[in-house]
């Protein structure tokens, strides 16, 4: 080819090639999407002004820059143009209005998009932004697990408006995940599982074998999963456990108790019922189920052990949630007599509680097995710092890339973090041979909840100022005598105080002193009764002394108070605001009756208000009425956005309740609050 022609051809080729990128650039998809949005907006606009706003929208990359939030940049709104545009309700994606949630529409500028949805905020291309099958890009969190986003900032166990997350966290706590897996913020976690030193004085080899074969076949409430141990392994483990010497003090107590005569089963049954044992335990499946099934307890533990345990459960398992009841020696004998009489497995072999004659060789083998299976992570007797974290760290698990995960044999799974996590929880051993984590038998909903909780563990903690714990002040647990009482009666097993405690009770105690009258509380502690007709009696009669009850009530009154709740809401208000009659009218018009009982009439959902004045302090009532969800996020009482005057009138009305039947009690109650 002549040089000239070659030059011309090559120049043209050069020109065309160089033009490709600018042309590609000019055709970037977001430009078309923005034009489409403009047309859609103009067709939906209701006013000329709105129409002009749509028409004059420049075609440009939109971004939310969150300087205080890891310097995040979310460009999602480049295409998702209608997220905060009320005119885009129900519009086709990507323009649809974001559904209203706790943080939207108000929070876009503060928390952006990727904080909840994941994905690559910087991207302006759909697949990249959504992290579709790209190793270097964070994938979007599937909608099923969206509440994991809440958990990045909301670190407390229960998060209002995020039931799946809260459930997942509760399940992880109860299943003992943190025993084996290190997770930031759960370093001090200890499983409730009993130390195994005292097995030989508690139960027999036959029962233990049955338990090791499948804990949940023995007790459906068991948290311990089935480790699918072979018969040889079970034998070896049994020999090891029976070979461990029980602590002398406990052995002596059990031996002494075994010699005691049996009490009266009928009294025992009454005590069993009064003590509200089934607030936690079950009997033949009836009860709460957060503690062992007691239907065959007499065939699971020796009489001596049961007596000694009931007298002081904390000596046997310092981590148990069970309170130490103030039973007399006779009470305990009666209860165990009741167990012996009725709560036993009548089909069990006679030697079910016979101890094992230990073979040292097998015991040594069992010791190795015990260590290798990680039993000690839950069952060790030492403090948290001494137990080895048996499994891999779960810190940052929520930000792991699918490419960095070991899918092992599970080639069937989609290459995503969420499917990996679900499969890991569903059948952990399906990934490879020799994996040690057992299956906990969670159902699909539970798996979803746990994965949601896991995904909330980001690679790095969100900045301090975005972490949310306002409704969950740090628990203040007193020391000294009161602290002993707290521990003895295990208040925190059921009640929440600040960021700690169980969820069995509906009443957190963080600001109990601001809420209830001291006199009422003393009476309640001595003889509790359910305030909510819809709920079964749950607070046990702990048989505490009046002195103990007064001490506890006094502590609540003095220390567990919210300074933002005023003592006397009527101070400095007009006299008319105290119009109880007007309050009664409001009570009717607002429909409070639908949930609350006063006297004989009313709904069953909320707490009874018959003796409201004796129980509740007016300052708290006023505070609560102004914003029920501010007191606790999951309160169902509607927020009527009452003006101060109305809230005061209602408070005044509630202040009169209880005086009609029993004039003395409310009077003292009122005096105490002034």
């Amino acid at each position: 080819m002549p040089l000239r022609r070659l030059f011309a051809v090559s120049s043209l080729l050069f020109l065309v090639t160089l033009a490709v990128s600018p042309v590609k650039n000019a055709l970037r998809p977001y430009r078309f999407i923005q034009r489409e949005f403009r047309d859609l907006g103009m067709s939906r606009a209701t006013s000329r002004k709105a129409m002009e706003l749509y028409a004059n929208r420049p075609v440009a990359i939109q971004q939310i820059w969150l300087r205080d939030f890891e310097d995040r940049v979310d460009r999602c709104t480049t295409c998702h143009l209608g997220v905060a545009d009320a005119a885009m309700r129900g519009a086709p994606e990507p323009f649809r209005l974001h559904p209203a949630t706790f943080h939207t529409p108000g929070g876009f500028e503060r928390i952006g998009c990727t904080a909840c949805h994941g994905g690559e905020g910087l991207a302006t291309l759909q697949d990249d932004a959504h992290g579709v099958a790209q190793e270097n890009i964070a994938p979007m969190t599937p909608a099923t697990f969206i509440q994991s986003g809440c958990g990045r900032c909301h670190l407390s166990a229960t998060v209002p408006d995020a039931p799946t997350l809260s459930r997942g966290r509760a399940l992880m706590e109860r299943a003992g995940c943190y025993s084996c897996h290190a997770v930031r913020g759960h370093d001090a976690y200890r499983s409730e599982a009993p130390p195994l030193d005292a097995i030989a004085i508690k139960t027999g080899a036959v029962w233990l074998r049955g338990w090791l074969e499948d804990p949940r076949a023995v007790d459906p409430n068991a948290t311990m999963p089935n480790f699918h141990l072979g018969a040889d392994d079970i034998l070896a483990l049994s020999h090891y456990m029976f070979g461990r010497p029980a602590p002398d003090a406990l052995a002596r107590r059990v031996a002494a108790a075994a010699g005691e005569p049996l009490g009266d089963p009928a009294t025992g049954r009454r005590l069993f019922s009064e003590s509200r044992c089934i607030s936690c335990h079950t009997v033949d499946g009836k009860g709460n189920g957060s503690a062992p099934e007691l239907g065959t307890i007499a065939s699971a533990a020796t009489r001596g052990w049961l007596i000694a345990f009931l007298r002081d459960p904390h000596a046997f398992n310092p981590r148990t949630r069970m309170p130490r009841y103030n039973f007399s020696d006779g009470d305990v004998r009666d209860i165990v007599a009741y167990f012996d009489d009725e709560l036993r497995d009548f089909d069990a072999p006679a030697d079910v509680l016979e101890p094992l004659r230990v073979n040292q060789t097998l015991a040594a083998k069992g010791a190795t097995l015990f260590r290798n299976a990680g039993c000690g992570s839950c069952h060790a007797s030492g403090p948290a710092s001494e137990t080895e974290k048996f499994g891999p760290d779960l810190d940052g698990i929520g930000d792991r890339r699918a490419a960095s995960l070991d899918f092992g044999r599970r080639r069937d799974l989609p290459q995503t973090l969420t499917s990996w996590l679900v499969a890991k929880i569903e059948s952990p051993r399906s990934f490879a041979d020799g994996l040690r984590m057992p299956s906990y038998g969670f159902d699909a909903d539970e798996q979803r909840a746990i994965v949601t909780a896991l995904l909330a563990h980001g690679a790095q903690a969100v900045p301090e100022k975005l972490r949310h714990s306002a409704t969950q002040p740090v628990a203040m647990i007193p020391g000294g005598r009161v602290g002993e009482l707290f521990s003895r009666y295990r208040c925190l097993s059921c009640h929440q105080i600040g960021n700690r405690g169980g969820d069995t009770s509906t009443a957190p105690l963080t600001f109990e002193g601001s809420k209830v009258n001291e006199e009422w509380l003393v009476d309640y502690l001595l003889l509790p009764s359910s305030l909510r007709p819809i709920l079964p009696e749950r607070m046990p009669i702990l048989k505490m002394s009046r002195e103990e009850a007064s001490l506890l009530a006094d502590t609540f009154e003095k220390f567990y108070v919210d300074p933002s709740i005023v003592e006397d809401p009527f101070a400095g208000r007009a006299e008319s605001d105290r119009d109880a009659a007007e309050g009664e009218r409001l009570y009717t018009t607002l429909g409070c009756r639908g949930c609350h009982i006063i006297g004989m009439a009313g709904g069953y959902y909320g707490p009874t208000l018959t003796e409201a004045a004796r129980r509740l302090k007016p300052g708290w009532v006023f505070h609560f009425l102004k914003n029920p969800q501010g007191w606790r996020g999951d309160i169902r009482c509607p927020n009527y956005a009452l003006p101060d005057t109305d809230a005061l009138r209602l408070t005044a009305y509630l202040g009169t309740l209880g005086s009609s039947r029993d004039a003395a009690a409310p009077a003292t109650g009122k005096e105490s609050t002034r």
Partner: protein, 248 residues
């Protein structure tokens, strides 16, 4: 109209002050094109016809030079969008990809040109070797060529860290731990190179300065010498045996 405009421009005093040769295709004017031009005057006015043949040199040196030119010219705009700091350096890659117009094209071009330059420079060296073009009087130019190859490798390698992704970090970690193995001075060299004991933000800054200032200047100087020596040593040399056998 157009023609007259063009000729009027060519006739203007300003144009004449810049371009001194005439437009007609005389050999004098063609000579002037070359030696009146700073950038072309490294060429002789006339060249041997046979050196223009493709198989004579396969144009490998020229391709290397073209790559270097593309890297120089393309690298400058990229610098406008780059901060040698952590984690902004990585984010800048995303900005180039998602926000800056044609940013991803320029980054790709720079990356592929860098790889191509290393590859073609090696091929160029092999070609020179097998054509025995390193023989006197070209010995020194061969040495310059070896230095140029090293400079090219270093440029490519220092650039490798700049995106601050996993590939960069670990590529550089692996490479610099090889340096560490040098007896006596290895640790020291690595310490100076990285500005610390691990690949960190200091290393990023040092690599950035090396990549954008020190090594390009060195390369520019060496290339000038290299090209100038090519001419001084008698022009490009093709196959050594060619004269012996194929010429009539």
């Amino acid at each position: 109209m157009r023609v007259s405009l063009a000729s009027r421009v060519r006739g203007s005093a300003v144009y004449r002050s810049i371009v001194r040769h005439g437009t007609t295709a005389t050999n004098r004017n063609r000579s002037l094109v070359v030696f009146e031009n700073l950038f072309l005057h490294v060429h002789p006015v006339k060249v041997r016809e046979k050196t223009l043949r493709f198989t004579h040199t396969f144009w490998l040196g020229g391709i290397t030079l073209a790559c270097a030119f593309i890297l120089f010219v393309g690298g400058i705009p990229l610098m406008f969008y780059y901060h040698p700091s952590v984690p902004q350096a990585y984010r800048d890659m995303k900005e180039l990809q998602y926000v800056v117009d044609n940013g991803v094209f320029l980054r790709n071009l720079h990356r592929w040109a860098a790889h191509a330059m290393v590859l073609v420079a090696v091929l160029h060296m092999l070609r020179v070797f097998y054509h025995r073009a390193y023989r006197p009087p070209r010995q020194f130019n061969w040495v310059i060529g070896v230095l140029l190859l090293l400079a090219t490798l270093l440029l490519s390698y220092t650039g490798y860290l700049l995106p601050w992704d996993q590939l960069s970090l670990w590529g550089v970690s692996v490479g610099t731990s090889m340096v560490k193995e040098a007896p006596f001075i290895g640790e020291r060299i690595r310490f100076y190179l990285l500005g610390g004991n691990v690949v960190s933000e200091n290393a990023l800054l040092r690599f950035y300065v090396l990549h954008c200032v020190v090594l390009p200047v060195a390369l520019l100087l060496l290339v000038s010498v290299h090209v100038w020596r090519v001419r001084k040593d008698g022009g490009v040399q093709g196959p050594a045996g060619a004269e012996r056998k194929n010429e009539p």
